[in-house]
């Protein structure tokens, strides 16, 4: 519904890109989690004293009771694939994806916890990945205290 005079106007496109650098504060809870991943290659969780639900990644408050979570427990690290997806070359975006396609995302129900962790599944060809598969974490040799310190989860041998 352009007014008719607009049909004759030269359309100028003004390119713009917002470039604002960000520095996110990790905070007390996740800093502790990542320090243990980085320094010990251990994945920990925290537990609610009231409803006893165990959360990984750790939460700041219980999702059910809004209580503070001060009890930390070490998880074995293994888990079960609850769901997964194979990202194809067609969808691959080098600006976004840290891995070359085809690669696999999964929600992994972590042993010892009530929640799942989202991460990559690797060390196995995508066609072989199945719901229900048992997996274990593989850590990077050089770790910086973030989620990519875990390289991916691979099938338990």
């Amino acid at each position: 519904m352009l007014a008719s005079w607009k049909e004759e106007v030269e359309e100028i496109i003004f390119p713009g890109k917002i470039s604002v650098p960000y520095f996110w504060t990790v905070g007390s809870t996740l800093s502790k989690w990542y320090a243990l991943i980085r320094d010990e290659c251990e994945i920990w969780a925290n537990r609610c004293p009231e409803c006893e639900m165990v959360f990984v990644p750790p939460k700041i408050k219980c999702i059910n009771c809004y209580k503070d979570l001060n009890e930390w427990i070490k998880l074995p690290g293994t888990g079960t694939i609850e769901t997964f997806t194979v990202v194809t070359e067609r969808f691959y975006d080098p600006k976004l994806h840290p891995r070359k396609a085809p690669f696999v995302y999964a929600v992994i129900k972590m042993d010892g916890a009530d929640t799942g962790l989202v991460h990559f599944v690797g060390g196995v060809s995508p066609e072989k990945v199945k719901v229900g598969m048992r997996v274990e974490p593989v850590f990077e040799k050089e770790r910086n205290g973030n989620i990519l310190d875990i390289k991916h989860f691979r099938p338990v041998s």
Binding site: F14, G16, I18, S19, V20, P21, Y22, F23, W24, T25, V26, G27, S28, T29, L30, K59, I60, K61, I63, N64, C65, Y66
Partner: protein, 384 residues
């Protein structure tokens, strides 16, 4: 008519330049926990949530979704509102309408910001029209400096008048444990501070802060049960009349004039200077604390410097302004306007600690942001 609504609890974080101990979700949880404690309520008594911040400061999309763990909103109703600097009062108004509509009995309103996570000016710059105004004029300080220059020229107001406001607010903050900047300053200190953008100097201007504020609104029947002295909402008026900075009339502050006039009418206020016992005003720079006195109908046009110099607006005056220290002491942008409402509520509830003004029956809170937008909220100790 709608349900009558009161504020029954307020929580604030200790605002700071950088809260490196807290992620965004943790800072929200800190304010929410304190609000629940203040109201002596538990999370299961909250029916619904509303949250606001300015997206580009933290670069998190769908903040209402992301904040779930900090808000306590799991399996409950929530949505987000956002309107730049006025976000805090927009959030307050939204919570008010939730309850006044009769659809919800208790609503938790949260405003927050972690300004330390980005370059504030760069993030603000994108609010201006990218083609017409972004390059020459954007950022917070340009428009404010221009506006006061015009006022100085029209009425003979001076830099020193503004410095008096700066010293007033900053010294007030010394009694507010939550304030970000708490510094003893003299008018001379302000006058000597480095010029940022004529005539606004460093000590005239607000900081950027990390912080959060949570306010609990409740319906009449619950408010009376939950709180011995709830702060009743008497009026909420918003005027966001302008889109382009070039359209503004610079000699006065039109949106604030219109919004406050309308709010006073709704609340039955005819003599604001006399009838209000305290005012928490969104003054992003001390200069606005001079100029906007006229716009709030506290004095005749051009008479603001006289009002400021009279001591009326200081803590021991007839109408203390910004006992909390105001925006130039604390500015987590998404929370800032909500803090005005929260502080005004505490004044009525008698919970303002060392900065308590005695016998507060009527309080004024304002929000400012965007292209010279104004929000006005009037709170009272008595039912509206």
């Amino acid at each position: 008519m709608g349900t009558r609504v009161a504020i029954v609890g307020v929580g604030q974080t200790h605002h700071a330049s950088r809260r490196l101990d807290c992620s965004g979700v943790e800072i929200i949880a800190e304010a929410v926990t304190r609000a629940l404690d203040d109201a002596e309520m538990t999370m299961d008594q909250i029916d619904a949530f509303v949250i606001g911040n300015m997206d580009h400061f933290e670069n998190i999309n769908y903040v209402d979704m992301w904040a779930t763990d900090g808000l306590g909103s799991f399996l409950k109703p929530v949505f987000k509102v956002t309107t730049g600097g006025t976000t805090g009062t927009t959030v307050a108004a939204c919570a008010f309408y939730h309850v006044a509509s009769g659809l919800f009995n208790t609503v938790l309103a949260v405003g927050w910001e972690k300004n330390s996570e980005s370059d504030t000016q760069a993030a603000i710059a994108t609010c201006a029209n990218p083609i017409l105004e972004r390059d020459p004029f954007a950022g917070a300080i340009g428009p404010l400096a221009t506006e006061y220059s015009m006022y100085m020229k029209a009425y003979g107001a001076t830099e020193e008048d503004a410095a008096i406001v700066a010293a007033r607010d900053r010294n007030n903050a010394l009694l507010n444990p939550y304030a970000h900047n708490r510094m003893k300053v003299t008018v001379e200190d302000v006058m000597k501070s480095p010029m940022l953008s004529y005539p606004i100097k460093f000590l005239d201007m607000c900081p950027r802060s990390d912080g959060a504020c949570a306010v609990i609104f409740a319906a009449e029947h619950l408010a009376k049960k939950l709180c011995p002295k709830p702060a009743w909402i008497h009026a909420s008026v918003v005027r966001h009349d302008y889109t382009h900075f070039g359209d503004l009339e610079w000699q006065w502050m039109p949106t604030l004039e219109r919004a406050s006039a309308e709010a006073y009418k709704k609340a039955g206020i005819t003599k604001p200077l006399k009838e209000f016992d305290v005012a928490e005003l969104y003054l992003p720079a001390s200069t606005t604390g001079v100029k906007w006195m006229d716009s709030l109908w506290f004095c005749e046009k051009g008479e603001a410097p006289k009002l400021i110099r009279s001591g009326t607006t200081h803590m021991d005056g007839e109408l203390p302004i910004n006992p909390s220290g105001g925006v130039i002491s604390t500015n987590p942008i998404g929370a800032t306007a909500l803090i005005r409402v929260g502080e005004a509520a505490w004044q009525i509830m008698g919970k303002a600690g060392e900065r308590q003004v005695p016998n507060v029956k009527k309080a004024l809170a304002t929000g400012f942001g965007g292209c010279s937008w104004s929000d006005v909220m009037i709170l009272g100790a008595d039912l509206p």
